[in-house]
Symmetry: C2
Subunit: 110 residues, 2 copies
DNA sequence: CAGAATCCTTCAGGATACTG
DNA sequence: CAGTATCCTGAAGGATTCTG
């Protein structure tokens, strides 16, 4: 018998686990257009708290999706950019974007 | 039951909100192969509680992704199947599946 | 068989203030 | 500017029992 914690996740679940949280897909979407600073993300992701933004970025760095670039300046200048692995998510994001748009159109017709 | 008075979400976030919860994508994946009964889903989604399964299905029915078919029998025979809208999620699920597989391969090479 | 009812735990997310 | 450090709340998820 396999414990739940050890239960192998299917490929779909792996993806959900990595980018399924509230803000991660939006962060990736923002980073697709190029590296961004903390303050830029905080502005474009209207509504995210600083804590959650940091936590999301840290988690994505650990997962190898995002890279943190420290320009070693004072005052601090740090940028976040997608790794090649992060960029490989583009088809997923795009599929989700297209479907979300499609769904909203369906919703209007009810 | 449906809270639609939230701030406008981008298309990507719409999709995440609809299928981003822990079990929904897995339910859809299971239903892609045809209608399933409650007990079948409860078995194939190893680890899900009855409450969460019901809640997920109810939510997906409200969102128009899943249809509940009552055969009006005793003992009860009820099946859940994807609506056309639910089936339209196939490309998203497939993109996530492919990427999840890709990610796990990357992970092994580190 | 399907799933409603109950009670409980966890934690993602949020608000705010502070620091190098 | 780029974060920590706290404290807090609600929602998601879970375990178990009961019922038509």
């Amino acid at each position: 018998m396999i414990k739940k914690e050890e239960m192998p996740l299917c490929d779909v679940a792996t993806t959900v686990q990595l980018i399924g949280s509230k803000w991660k897909t939006l962060i990736i979407r923002d980073l697709i257009t190029g590296p961004k600073r903390n303050s830029e993300l905080h502005r474009s992701l209207a509504g995210v708290s600083q804590k959650v933004l940091t936590a999301s970025l840290t988690s994505m760095i650990e997962d190898g999706l995002v890279e943190r670039i420290d320009f070693e300046k004072v005052p601090p200048h740090i940028e976040y950019q997608l790794t090649p692995l992060g960029e490989s998510l583009l088809p997923v994001i795009e599929a989700m974007r297209k479907w979300g748009q499609f769904y909203k159109e369906q919703d209007l017709r009810r």
